[in-house]
């Protein structure tokens, strides 16, 4: 199978789900501005913590309708990543049975629910898909779009797609995590509650006080991580704005912007650069993962990623 080499102008933009816990008004106001932007897809839903109930499932569905009515973007509902309780499982099931909107699966339970109904789905970054053979398995289950784990390099993404080509299987759409704090880990423990000296079962919903997470620095003042409830994120913002030619050449179709409150500016920047504008100087962001290096590192433009069997 041959695939035409893509260039950066072929890349589309998607807005990932909000990973932080924002008050309902903030969230609704945020999306009322997002519908104006040149986005191909808008993902909504709670992926981190089932205790966050500013938005009920009904609210999310209503928001999905509002966005679909006001924007050309496709609305996709993102599912919870770490599922521990029976109530979380039944909520996820109902999300998968919404009957209208495509779902992003972030746990194999969602894959099972969606495949059982014969519905196409997006495989989110919390699913461990690193190779052509594993992609083939989920393609057979209905995966239409692959968001690789955030630690995947460009070489790994291209290598997995080449394996699909060799097996004669059609590629899914590929969406990479292009901007935002990288979701790195999910835990039993809620770090935000713990910092506040509260047990997880009585957390007081403290993460609502941190719309961009809690900074974790080394004892030398180096920003290492960002705590977001049970999720640990990167300390630096992942930013691939300087790598769009390479990203397109490796077979990626869509760039995911993982939103902060400044998402409109980020989308505008990526939109400008994909249309040929100069990439802005990135000062604090990191892009190491894409280049097969430690995720926190910054590889300057002009230095290409490692070969096919380079550091994964």
């Amino acid at each position: 199978m041959t695939t035409a080499i893509k260039t950066r102008s072929d890349l589309r933009l998607a807005l990932g789900p909000v990973l932080f816990f924002w008050p309902k008004d903030t969230l609704l106001d945020f999306y009322s501005r997002m519908v104006e932007l040149p986005l191909d897809a808008i993902y909504i839903g709670e992926t981190v913590c089932s205790k966050r109930r500013e938005m009920s499932r009904r609210d999310w569905i209503a928001l999905a309708h509002d966005i679909a009515g006001a924007s050309r973007a496709r609305v996709i509902l993102s599912g919870l990543a770490l599922i521990e309780a029976a109530s979380e499982l039944s909520n996820l099931k109902r999300l998968c049975e919404n009957g209208e909107f495509m779902v992003e699966a972030n746990d194999m339970a969602a894959v099972r629910f969606l495949a059982g109904q014969g519905l196409p789905f997006v495989a989110g970054p919390a699913l461990n898909l690193y190779s052509g053979a594993s992609l083939a398995e989920l393609i057979a289950c209905g995966m239409q779009r692959w968001v690789p784990p955030v630690e995947c390099s460009g070489a790994t993404v291209a290598g997995a797609l080449a394996e699909l080509d060799a097996a004669g299987l059609a590629r899914p759409e590929v969406e990479v995590f292009a901007h935002g704090y990288l979701p790195l880990a999910y835990s039993a423990r809620c770090f935000t509650a713990r910092l506040a000296g509260r047990p997880k079962d009585d957390c007081g919903f403290r993460c609502i006080e941190y719309p961009a997470g809690v900074a974790v620095d080394s004892q030398e003042g180096e920003r290492l991580f960002t705590l977001n409830g049970i999720q640990t994120m990167s300390g630096r913002i992942g930013d691939l704005v300087g790598d769009l030619d390479d990203i397109a050449a490796r077979g990626v179709d869509i760039l995911r912007i993982s939103p902060g409150l400044d998402a409109a500016d980020v989308v505008a920047t990526f939109d400008r650069v994909r249309q040929g504008g100069p990439a802005p100087e990135v000062e604090d962001g990191c892009n190491g993962y894409w280049h097969g290096r430690p995720g926190m590192t910054r590889v300057p433009p002009g230095i290409r990623s490692a070969g096919a069997d380079g550091l994964a």
Binding site: V111, E151, T156
Partner: protein, 331 residues
């Protein structure tokens, strides 16, 4: 409950058998398993010997092939599966769905266990792996409370194995990229967390610093016990406070939960630590064997003997043990 013990060498396999392990799990000396450390693990010839030793004593031998297959290098993982099938390994511990598909089609008689790296925490995820790949057991991540383990065990289509003792992974296994963020090496892809090659110790006067790829993980005063810089157990600064922001150095120890685990219907208890010494394997295995035998003999009158706790605390990080996520208030 089956006692499943780790071995990072042929010596450790022998010692685990002597000390009373029902099953021993090992990995090959490459990046196909999640404990890829220098000088650790078995080559093909040693694996054959290990299988022979275990079977001669009617114990079982499991092979962990539980990293995610790297594009272009799949043959290495497939060779490991073939080796396991050829040598009569009793179960293959796998996480990657592409590899599960391969193994289940090519070697339908080779029992498959879902690795903890597969990160299945609920009955529907387990049903996915069971329906598609015929897994016969699943190892549960260390993020569930005891009540949640009970719920999963009740509804799971396959028997479950839980961690009983060892280093405490606070994140859902298979869903943690902290190590690759700092060092480029991850458990999922490279088979190592906080790899030794990235560690540097530095002394400045009385203060000892530990670094991982040059990032400062912790600083120790002379009176403090310096632990290995596993990055989630470092001391960091949050809102002006220096603290173990993610997790204190402590080991999981569930020996007093044995009656409850049995009641729940847990099929096997796993001891963590293929990277640890044969002496560790010997002590932990012997202690757990004694405890499981005592439970079998006394049932609900089971009491934790003080010397078990002392032995296990002595083998723990920072000499501290915890029930981890099994105990809800810890969460």
């Amino acid at each position: 409950m089956e006692l499943v013990c780790p071995a990072g060498s042929l010596t450790a396999v022998k010692i685990a058998i002597e000390a009373g392990a029902d099953a021993i799990y090992v990995g090959l000396r490459d990046d196909t398993n999640a404990r890829r450390f220098a000088g650790l693990n078995l080559d093909a010839r040693e694996l054959e010997q290990a299988v022979g030793l275990a079977h001669a004593r009617r114990r079982r031998l499991f092979l962990a092939v539980n990293t995610y297959v790297r594009p272009g290098a799949g043959e290495r993982w497939e060779r490991a599966v073939e080796l396991a099938a050829t040598l009569g390994v009793d179960a293959l511990i796998v996480a990657d769905i592409g590899l599960l598909a391969h193994a289940s089609r090519r070697y339908p008689d080779l029992p498959l266990h879902l690795s903890v790296q597969g990160s299945a925490t609920n009955p529907e995820a387990l049903a996915f792996y069971h329906a598609r790949y015929g897994i016969r057991r699943a190892v549960l991540p260390r993020v569930l409370s005891l009540a949640q383990v009970a719920q999963v065990a009740k509804e799971s289509p396959v028997p479950v194995e839980v961690f009983g003792f060892g280093s405490l992974c606070i994140m859902a296994e298979g869903r943690c990229h902290l190590s690759s963020y700092l060092t480029g090496e991850s458990p999922n892809q490279g088979g190592a967390c906080s790899p030794a090659g990235a560690v540097r110790w530095e002394r400045d006067g009385e203060v000892l610093s530990s670094r991982l790829n040059e990032v400062l993980i912790d600083r120790f005063e002379p009176e403090e016990r310096a632990g290995y810089p596993t990055l989630c157990k470092g001391r960091f600064v949050v809102e002006g406070r220096r603290l173990h922001a993610i997790e204190e150095p402590a080991s999981l120890n569930t020996i007093d939960l044995i009656p409850r685990l049995a009641e729940i219907g847990v099929a096997a208890v796993k001891i963590e630590g293929r990277q640890r010494s044969p002496a560790y394997v010997e002590k932990v295995t012997r202690t757990w064997r004694e405890a499981l035998d005592a439970f079998a003999a006394t049932g609900n009158d089971f009491d934790v003997r003080p010397h078990w706790s002392r032995t296990l605390a002595g083998l723990s990080e920072g000499s501290q043990t915890t029930l981890g996520a099994y105990h809800r208030p810890w969460q």
